[in-house]
Symmetry: C2
Subunit: 124 residues, 2 copies
């Protein structure tokens, strides 16, 4: 656990926020001005592999990193791209249901809603 990795992890602890790799880079650079973007990418990959953060691939096509590990879903604004958390369920046991109709051994799931955020609703 290097200094860089620790700071990256700390800077990801923003409840309800989801950052691109470059946003993480910008934040971390305020504390470690010499860190490189490559290091940020490498550590985001490692941290998500060991389960300290979550990598999201949402509909907008952007890769986002989420420091929040509690079970929750996401909603993305189709107008401005803003992503917010949606508290999880209770949505029944989705995985059990899927396991009955699929030949896959189900290990997990991701649920993403799309809609229009409060600000964009005003603009309509």
């Amino acid at each position: 656990m290097t200094r860089q990795r620790r700071v990256i992890l700390e800077e990801m602890q923003i409840p309800g926020k989801h950052l691109t790799a470059d946003e993480v880079y910008q934040r971390v650079r305020r504390r470690l001005p010499n860190i490189s973007l490559g290091t940020v990418y490498r550590n985001l990959e490692i941290l998500s592999r060991i389960g300290r953060i979550k990598k999201l691939h949402l509909g907008g096509g952007r890769k986002l990193y989420d420091g929040g590990l509690h079970l929750h879903y996401h909603v993305r604004c189709v107008k401005c791209g803003k992503v917010s958390d949606v508290p999880a369920g209770p949505f029944g046991d989705l995985e059990t249901a899927a396991g009955k109709t699929s030949e896959f051994k189900i290990l997990g799931h991701q649920l993403e809603f799309e809609g229009i955020c409060k600000e964009c609703q005003k603009d309509e």
Copy 2:
């Protein structure tokens, strides 16, 4: 509706299959050898915007295009990346539930399961 667009749409009609832009390009090229990759990208974008196909951003980070318009979900193998359809629900009314806890006006949702496909289960 140009010839290129029509052929692209036709080549996407493979039940249960999900293609990358390049796979679409390869398929279409068998019928229209001079089509360019740019044209494929432009038409996939247009077709998904007008709702004739669906653009998927699954966990693997890959962008896939799906010609199947019936309501269904997807499951992705975490070992080999294979993507299969999962019949939808009945999973209750996910969007109504999300609308109660979110300030967004909910318009839709995508649900992706991850697991291990039949073939990869054998290898374990």
